[in-house]
Every structure is written in C-alpha cells, then in structure tokens.
Symmetry: C2
Subunit: 198 residues, 2 copies
Amino acid sequence: MSAIEQLTVELGKLPGIGRKTATRLTFHLLKQPRGAVESLARAIQAIVDRIAPCSTCGNFSEADPCSICSDSRRDRSMLCVVEEASDIEAIERSDEYRGLYHVLGGHLSPLDGIGPEDLRIDDLRRRVENGSGLREVIVATNPSMEGEVTATYLRGVLAPLGLRVTRIARGLPVGGDLEYADRSTIAQALVARREMTE
Amino acid sequence: MSAIEQLTVELGKLPGIGRKTATRLTFHLLKQPRGAVESLARAIQAIVDRIAPCSTCGNFSEADPCSICSDSRRDRSMLCVVEEASDIEAIERSDEYRGLYHVLGGHLSPLDGIGPEDLRIDDLRRRVENGSGLREVIVATNPSMEGEVTATYLRGVLAPLGLRVTRIARGLPVGGDLEYADRSTIAQALVARREMTE
C-alpha cells in the first residue's frame, strides 16, 4: 500500500471520518510544510509516550498521581464519579467543582456484556473506604439509560459505607452526552444535585 | 502545554475540524491501543518522508517520475491538466482516461494575487513543446469561475502550439469541486469533452 493510501486508511479509522474526509485530510497534509505535518505526527506519538491513566483516579495524565489528585488545594471531602476521563475536562470547565474525581471507564451495559467487574468500581469502593475526610460522592455518569443504571448500582455499593451519595441534577438533556454539554448547564446540574434515595 | 492540549491544537488545525471535534478525536486516541495510535503517527510522518511531487507532472508520488508518468501502457498522445494532485485520483477512479497528467498547483485568481507564474504553466508549455506524439491536451480544471478563467488562459497558451485543446464537459455541477464528484459524472464529463474555441 502506498503512503498516501496508508494514511487515508488510518485517518478513516477515526470516529466520524469517512473515506472522503480521510482522502481530503490526506491531500491537505500533503500540501502542508514538512514542519506542520511532523508537529501533528509528534503530537500523536506523544500521547502514547507521555500519557498514562492516573493510578488513583483513572484520569489521563503525564504525571502519576495526576495534577488534580496531587493538588493540595482541591477539596478532599468530595469525589465526583464520571464515566470517561474526557468528562473531567467538561466538569472542570464549569468552574463549579473543586473536589476529586474517579473515572469508571464506561457504564454498565448488560446487553454489551459490560458488568461491574469491567469498570473501576472496586477501586472506587476501596478509595471511599480508605478516604479519610471523604464526605460526599457525586455520581456524574451520563443522563442516559446506561448512566442511570450505573448510578443506581453505585448508590447500592456506596450508601452502606455511610457517606452522602448524590446524583448530578438532570439539568442535562436526557439521552445526551456530558462531554458535549455547555459549561453553564453543567454548573447548574452540579448546584442542583440531589440526594440519592431508594 | 500538555500533550493532550498539544494534540487538540494540532488536530484543530485540520480543515473542517473545530475545537470540539479535535477534543473528541484526542480522547478517542487516548483510549486506543498503543499500536493503533503509533500506526497513525507513522502514517503521517511517512508522507513527509516518502512522498514528493513528480518532477514531470507534479503528482504526489513515492517515485520520480511517478507511477503514471513511467507507465509505458499509458497513452502518451494525451495530457490531462488538473488543478491539484488530488484531482488525478478522482479522474483515475472514473476508468475513462489512460493518458498522462499535468498538475498546475491551483488556479488563476487575480483577487488572491495568483498569476500564471505561480502555477506550473511554463512547465506545461515546455512539456507540450517537447512532447513528441502528444496530440491533445484536456483541460480539467474545476468547473468554477477560477477554473474557467484558468482554462481560457491555458487555451491561449496551448492553441498556438498546434495541438487539440479540449475542455472537460460541464457535466459537473457548476461551482462544484472535481475532487468530490462521483466517478460516473467524471466519466461522462470526459466522454463529452469539447473543442475549445475563442
């Protein structure tokens, strides 16, 4: 396969990029100065060379623990549970939350064969059991069906441990995706979070 | 800047990819296996390491002359002039043309300060003057205003050299872009090409 075909195939594997867009991007890159193309190649290589999940919270990070876990100014009495590391950035943009995070790595989905053992739920339980001063867990899984199922399951796991378990408010459109919500919607959803009850 | 921010910035420079899409692609790549991400980085680096313009026709190629210019089975009596190297792939897909190509590297655009000296028009004239057996030049610039202006200019340059100068038929939607046309439209446009007259 030629280098042009190879790049078109690789770009076509990205989500939302079909064959035509991949071809267009390839020819765009062919017309760029060498330095610009190399910057892109280096930036992609850098994420495998420099980024790894934080062993504490699961966030993508260049340091371990990550900059949030190691930040002494963060409020250690609160833990916000999210599905994906990308959700952390969305919540940080809201400027409404100053606690710690825990990344599950997805949501429960029995139909896809994804059970509690496939998510970082045991790690979460251990963190909560060992976390001195931890008073509240905010469950910020997506407001989708799977996110709600996951939230309910987490409440069952966490409630017996004797701390406040809250659910981010349904200010977000149902069926939506936290990662793409605007910052004020996320801020409002954090403020209006509610106690999780049976 | 962190590796994540750096990659988001680099991806955001690509045409049609805004900040949100760049962020989404970055987090997609963060979740991929190391090998898949390195394949993409390598494929991008390969186009600067392995691809250069063919010194004869201007097509992007790993060899010089390119595989089309050096292919003895191609019809050397015909030369098809295109704006961009990516247009060659579109025409090849039509399976209607077996001659050679010449890439101009753009179109005339006085408003943007792009004149004949900025395109590979002198190279084209030399090729036609020295090309023994060359009988026809098909002008396949885009069916846009700039493409038509460029075609008219080329006719003025080539007609005195005593060979047939044809224009790809306006089967393509006016204002469209050759690169994105479907193969049957391109095939029809090639079949219905017409003599260029004053």
